[in-house]
Symmetry: C3
Subunit: 148 residues, 3 copies
């Protein structure tokens, strides 16, 4: 398993880790695989969304703050219940297909580490999963493209 | 990797793609596997929920519109921040176990493509992941059924 | 595939199933793998979050009840639309890396079955996915630890 270490600098922050993940994929160069990114924390998650206009990250963080404001009267006394709630909503893992050695992110997609109780030192676990390649495919790729 | 092409017709829409996915599973007939469905977009996601009463989809879309109304004053200027936020909440991937060649969806479960900025032409990526079958199971399936 | 049976006792409840999952991992003792937990229901999901202070679960359930109150005027007539909405937000599957036979949960992480329409008899599916182990790693683990 591979570990990436991060240092967040804000309480709430979407940190673009796409290039770090691409670096790892380039290191192993798996032909066909699926990449698992797993966050071992309870107040930080991971999501995939637009990485070109940083205003998108701002709007996502704002929406999360509306759902889970930091100053609400929570039962958990450590002052970071908002971070736990946001992490449940972000999720703490993503999978991305790898095809012909290429991470199959969509055109506008980037991978964001979702800090919700920073600043902290954080870890990101990365695994490569095996895909079925020996399945006899009775049709060509083109035929497998199912149009509706 | 397999690609399914879709055409959404509404701004916000849950499109039931269960039969298309079942068609693909039937094409490959893997014995034991896990199906990965990955959406390469930033304003469309995927979820698994009830597919029998369409009122459930209506209620899910309504809840998403309450969390991320389209007419709010967002920073991202393309007019689709609500779609980005909803996609973070839906998530952009799901996994479904395949056992004895059968997609292990629960009785009421269907697979929904979650359009949040349509109408658009969209893609759905599908991969089959390998599962551990050669692990020596020291107990029978029945014994592995852990009751609480 | 492995099945765990559960009995929930509340309408909304986070049930800690970490020890049951650990029992299953101990039964198979895979060296390197990824564990998939899949919930085959439409009003129950799964999440990973803090399992030490039960006040965290309370705050998470409260936030979900604010997003999807049970007494709202929903279109779905079975009285459990709130449970469907919450399940979309929780998600119905998680993956956890296994490394050297050990479930790589973070220090504060526990695995929670998210009941949103109980009390009910429920099922949890568990699969072990194969990871790439034969990939030639050109650097040692330490070098693969990418610091930012």
């Amino acid at each position: 398993m591979n570990v990436i270490e991060l240092k967040s600098t804000e309480k709430n922050e979407l940190i673009d880790i796409t290039s770090k993940i691409a670096e790892l994929v380039n290191l192993y160069k798996p032909n066909a695989s699926t990449l698992l990114i797993y966050i071992p924390h309870t107040t930080a998650g991971i999501t995939i969304n637009e990485c070109y206009d940083s205003a998108v990250s701002y709007d996502i963080l704002s929406a999360m703050n509306t759902i889970a404001p930091s100053n609400k009267n929570y039962r958990h006394m450590e002052g970071n219940s908002d971070g736990h709630i946001k992490t449940v909503l972000f999720g703490n893992q993503v999978l991305i297909p790898i095809c012909d050695g290429k991470l199959m992110l969509g055109k506008w997609q980037g991978i964001f580490f979702c800090e919700s109780d920073g600043p902290r030192n954080r870890k990101v676990y990365v695994q490569f999963l095996k895909v079925e390649t020996e399945i006899k495919n009775p049709r060509s790729f083109k035929e497998c493209l199912i149009k509706s």
